[in-house]
């Protein structure tokens, strides 16, 4: 009951704050720019002549991954900066005092805020992702092979990041938690690219950088799973060995074990947040 009330409050907050408008503006800009780019792609002339429709689809599939990365970045920034003030901001301002003095368990308050943010983040990913698919279909006629699974993994990535941002928000200040969460998200992505290069070069040591970072923070792992669901299956065959560590192609779908690990990771970090928030003096 408390959790549902708090989830509703969090959604209402998200919908009434300026961060939403920033998110909408960024998304619309990205959709418009990508629509323009994809439209140009259809009749593109290269040194080898005009791009065939098959080639265009292939390039579109890569570009879609690139644009979806942009979207996932917007989702990450948006939720991290919404999750940042959720705990520390309210404690610092005194807003938490009147609420926590009510007959509520702090874990229920946390669960409510988390559910609200999850609903917001997933809703954003679903809407913006779907809009992007429609733009690509209208311009070059490409439709990803597994759109639902891909968007679900992208939403999972958002959930992982906002859970981390909430944990940080229970121990450090508002600004710091948002910045650290987004910084870690970026660092894991870079580590993933480095690991990809390592794999392509057959260097196990470098490849391990990517693997370890994907276990420590599953955002990049989920992102690779999502890319695999968005890209044209023929792309891997087509590009073959030449695509040494290309960051916008994914070799394989995610394993069940990795997905389970992600669930365990979220539960663990959530539990840590509950303990930290429960013990905190407000």
């Amino acid at each position: 009951m408390t959790a549902l009330t708090m989830a509703g409050l969090t959604l209402r907050e998200a919908s009434r704050r300026r961060v939403v408008w920033a998110l909408v503006a960024l998304t619309v800009t990205l959709l418009a720019l990508s629509g323009w780019g994809f439209a140009k792609l259809a009749g593109l002339e290269t040194s080898q002549g005009t791009l065939t429709s098959g080639e265009a689809r292939l390039v579109a599939s890569q570009l879609l991954n690139l644009v979806m990365f942009g979207l996932s970045l917007i989702a990450a920034l948006g939720t991290a900066f919404l999750a940042g003030p959720a705990l520390s901001g309210e404690i610092e301002s005194g807003m938490a005092l009147a609420v926590l003095a009510r007959p509520v368990r702090r874990s229920a308050v946390l669960l409510g805020k988390w559910l609200g943010l999850v609903a917001f983040g997933c809703g954003y990913v679903a809407l913006a992702g779907l809009a992007q698919f429609l733009v690509v279909r209208a311009t070059v006629g490409y439709w990803p092979p597994e759109p639902v699974a891909g968007l679900a993994l992208l939403a999972g990535q958002t959930v992982v990041l906002l859970t981390l941002a909430l944990l940080l928000s229970s121990v450090v200040s508002t600004m710091a938690s948002g910045i650290v969460a987004v910084g870690l998200f970026g660092a894991t992505w870079v580590a993933g690219v480095v690991g990809g290069v390592g794999e392509a070069l057959g260097n196990d040591g470098v490849a391990r950088v990517g693997t370890v970072s994907r276990i420590l923070l599953p955002t990049d792992g989920l992102w690779h799973g999502a890319m695999h669901a968005f890209q044209d299956p023929s792309a891997l065959v087509q590009f073959g060995v030449e695509r040494t560590g290309f960051p916008f192609l994914s070799d394989a779908p995610l394993t069940t074990v990795y997905l389970l690990w992600t669930v365990v990771w979220v539960a663990m970090v959530w539990g840590l947040t509950a303990v930290s928030f429960g013990r905190r003096d407000v």
């Binding site: 005194g94 009147a98 009510r102 007959p103 509520v104």
Partner: protein, 325 residues
Amino acid sequence: MASDTAAAGSAADLVAALPPSPAVWCSGLRKRYGRRVAVDDVSFSVARGEVLGLLGPNGAGKTSVIKMLLGLVRPDAGEVMLLGRPGKDPLARAGVGYLPELFRYQPWLTAAEVLALHVRLVRARVPASEQHDCLELVGLADRAADRVGAFSKGMQQRLGLAVALVARPELVVLDEPTSALDPIGRVDVRDLVLALKARGVTVLLNSHLIGEVERVCDRVVILDRGRVAASGSLDELLGQREVKLNLEGVDARAEARLRATGALTRAGDWFTVAVPTDDAGTRVPDLVRDLVALGVRVHAVEPGRISLEERLLGILRHRPEDTAS
């Protein structure tokens, strides 16, 4: 099984027969922030329907004590009971309304939405009309549909009062409730506390304004450097009252009569007599009657009482550590 039920029944009867538990009970509360001891072995209780004032200088630990009572700050040691339930149980706060010292409410909600949120958090059934009455009580009825973000500090504090009162509390905790209010607002708060008292609601009031406390509180707890420096009813704390008389023609018999009433001090024609607190109100008129009968001319009789402010300053200036050094 049947005997279990019977035992449970008799236990329930026993509990029901107990006198009502205090609204607030705390024992041995301690809190340390780093090296600084903020609260050190604080114990007190507030009876149901009582208005208790928490007094003390800045940094005495008043707000920390209140936050520990409400489960907002974890005490390092000590126990809390609220309305008969252990403080660790969130349900102990079901009948509590709280206005924090640092009051801030969701700026993206309207005043009416803030009240509705708190009613939902308490799981109380308070009709919208009653919630609106609450806003009216604090003078915000015409701002119910406005976002809190546009409110002045004083209006936010008034909203905080409405939040504290909206879910029909049995215990109201007000931490500096008039810090942002103008003189009219202060009088409003005083009347509000008196109205709560008349309805039998327990009030724990933390305020710097000693006059405010003196007018509305039944009992006072004075905190200093995290410890209870003094506590008791106003009569107990303020001790004896005194009466000053301007007299002419006082002879030995009249002086003996004056001494029979209480300790006597004299400065010229002014005589100051201490009147014990157990006085039922007859000692002073009796004294004046007898003095007149003894031929003394009575020019003036002025009641005097040590103010709470003087008493508070007296307690704080004569700290045990200070006198020891």
